[in-house]
């Protein structure tokens, strides 16, 4: 595996996540897509870390994983609370705040 293929996969993952956020209507899936983007970054970090022969990229991955977990936790909590109020998790319907 060369660096290029690693980065290519990471890029594809990132774009997949990006498109997921852009196109999916279910908030859960959108959250998952954001996680996918973060994981793409993780992959790239590891790849670069390996290729550059430095450790800090690999260490950074742990921070990202932690942060992503926290983010998802908060996200899900909000989502649950919102679902209780609105009975829906569809993004298109969550537009009370506008104009």
């Amino acid at each position: 595996m060369t660096l290029h293929s690693v980065i290519l996969v990471a890029g594809i993952l990132f774009i997949t996540g990006f498109l997921g956020v852009l196109l999916r209507r279910n908030t859960l899936i959108v959250l998952m897509s954001v996680e996918l983007m973060l994981n793409a970054v993780n992959l790239a970090f590891v790849g670069f870390s390996r290729y550059n022969n430095t450790m800090d990229g690999a260490v950074f991955v742990f921070f990202i994983i932690t942060v992503a977990a926290a983010e998802v936790a908060v996200g899900l909590a909000i989502l649950v609370a919102l679902f209780r109020r609105r009975q829906t998790v569809m993004l298109d319907t969550i537009n009370q705040l506008k104009d």
């Binding site: 990132f14 790239a44 290729y51 800090d56 983010e71 537009n95 009370q96």
Partner: protein
């Protein structure tokens, strides 16, 4: 890597350098403990403890700042933390912000059945994260601090669990924030990867350190990965400070968030964002100035125009404040461009502007917190009809705050704008200055419209017309003595800084 290296690293871990942040976090933890141990009727004191603790820290930090020699920069924690006079000054700034947010929190929570302690806890943690963020000299610390405060903000924005608006704002902020974090991270990883590439000149093994990155980028300014990474980082930060076109989320989130959180977002988050942008653009990305100056100049101009034009017909004051915050971000960004163009005073001007912005914004948000009804997101300008008649003191604070934000002499905001505009002029950004002037003029309309609503209905002169004696539409929370004190401090600060800038100016412009 041998042990010697780690020893050197360990020796740079001077924990006392971070005493304010540590104290803040300890205070936050202390609040948790208090919540557990205090009897139910004594829990009312928790906010006071939070505020008192912060005030003590503010005093101590101020003493440290005053006694600090002019050349006091230092790197700690394996060059991950860079302390400069700027970071010392920003500590004061964030502590002030934390104190006023806590104060606004007491006003806000007084009317609502919501958990009390957690709010102050998170505010303290986020405040500490702000401080770390502006001291960070390495992308790891940078990212961790940034995410700490961002996640804290997700919670705070959605703090009012009973309100679907608050939750919706939290969700929007979370998705968009997560999205932008991902972009920021992708930028970081690109920079990390390319700057650690041993095939390129100026590469470094510690390529996430800002100094090393700066060296590298100066030598490879046209590398597409460098450009792509820098742009992605910039986009991530542009989201935080809300400049065109990443300003679009601002009004929605500001409207839905509880008023104290809106203030926190508007003031501290924006300030931290700008300091980081300055650190980045003036540090690692200095080699890309040729690319970024025109880009940021255009963005700043558009931001000023958008931020001032969009609130013209807006009736919801929280959205008005959000959009006006966008406009202020535009002025500040113009100041950032001025720094890049070599204006000597622009840096100090931005920080001074941030201070005046803090005072003005908090004065307005304080009034808003008192006016806010059960539905916090519905705060219309109409609620301010006859406001001055029934609440002269709050009305005074409102006038001072809005006037300062609008940049009207003799209030602090005017001095801030003046120095900033001189800096922009000296940097030769004439078009940008023209747009900024135009923006100020347009902004008079909505700021003044708000004042008009509060004042103009009430006392018609006996000469013609009749006295308009309508009652106020909404029920305004009367300020307690402590609240009045806080508002008084803000108003005094606005007025004093308008007339006398001595101490702050000296610290700002001779230390930076």
């Amino acid at each position: 890597m041998n042990l010697e290296v780690f020893k050197v690293f360990a020796e740079s871990n001077i924990w006392s350098a971070l005493w304010v942040e540590i104290a803040l976090v300890l205070l936050a933890l202390g609040l948790l403990v208090l919540e557990l141990v205090l009897p139910a009727n004594a829990k009312r004191t928790i906010p006071s403890v939070a505020i008192a603790g912060q005030i003590i820290l503010l005093v101590l930090a101020s003493i440290q700042l005053i006694q600090m020699p002019d050349d006091c920069s230092g790197m700690y924690f394996s060059q991950m933390i860079l302390q400069t006079p700027q970071s010392a000054i920003m500590r004061i700034f964030f502590l002030l912000g934390g104190i006023f947010v806590s104060y606004l929190g007491t006003v806000y929570l007084a009317r609502r059945e919501l958990p009390k302690m957690e709010f102050f806890h998170i505010v303290l943690v986020v405040t500490a994260a702000f401080m770390i963020l502006v001291q960070s000299h390495h992308f790891v610390v940078f990212f961790v601090a940034l995410e700490t405060l961002t996640i804290g903000f997700y919670v705070l924005v959605a703090y009012c669990r009973t309100s679907s608006a608050s939750l919706e704002a939290g969700l929007k902020f979370l998705i968009l924030g997560g999205f932008s974090s991902a972009m920021l991270l992708f930028g970081i990883v690109l920079l990390y990867g390319v700057a650690g590439n041993p095939l390129l000149p100026g590469y470094s093994t510690d390529s996430m350190n800002f100094s090393n990155l700066a060296t590298f980028i100066t030598q490879n300014p046209t590398n597409p990965l460098v450009l792509g990474g820098a742009v992605l980082v910039l986009v991530g930060m542009a989201f935080k400070i809300g400049v065109v076109p990443f300003q679009i989320w601002v009004p929605d989130v500001y409207q839905g968030a509880p008023t104290p959180v809106t203030a926190f977002l508007a003031v501290c988050s924006k300030a931290a964002g700008f300091i980081v942008i300055i650190n980045l653009l003036n540090g690692p990305f200095l080699g890309l100035s040729d690319v970024f100056i025109p880009l940021l100049a255009v963005v700043a101009g558009l931001t000023i125009l958008f931020g001032n034009i969009a609130p013209l017909s807006q009736r919801n004051v929280k959205r008005v404040m959000g959009l006006s915050g966008v406009a202020h971000a535009g002025y500040l960004l113009a100041g950032v461009v001025a720094i890049l163009c070599g204006s000597a005073i622009a840096h100090g001007a931005i920080i001074f502007y941030l201070f005046t912005y803090l005072l003005g914004s908090f004065a307005v948000f304080a009034v808003m917190a008192h006016v806010s009804q059960k539905e916090d997101e519905i705060q219309e300008i109409d609620h301010y009809e006859n406001f001055a008649k029934h609440n002269p003191f709050l009305a005074l604070a409102l006038v001072c705050g809005l006037g300062s934000l609008a940049g009207i002499p003799p209030l602090a905001g005017f001095i801030g704008k003046l120095i900033l505009f001189i800096a922009i002029f000296k940097a030769g950004l004439y078009t940008l200055l023209g747009i900024a002037i135009l923006g100020v003029v347009i902004s008079i309309y909505y700021y003044f419209g708000w004042i008009r609503e509060a004042f103009f209905h009430i006392y018609a002169i006996g000469e013609r017309g009749t006295t308009d004696d309508r009652e106020q539409l909404v029920d305004v929370l009367k300020p307690t003595p402590m609240h009045a004190l806080a508002i008084g401090v803000l108003v005094t600060g606005i007025l004093v800084l308008g007339f006398y800038q001595g101490g702050l100016i000296d610290r700002l412009f001779y230390m930076l």
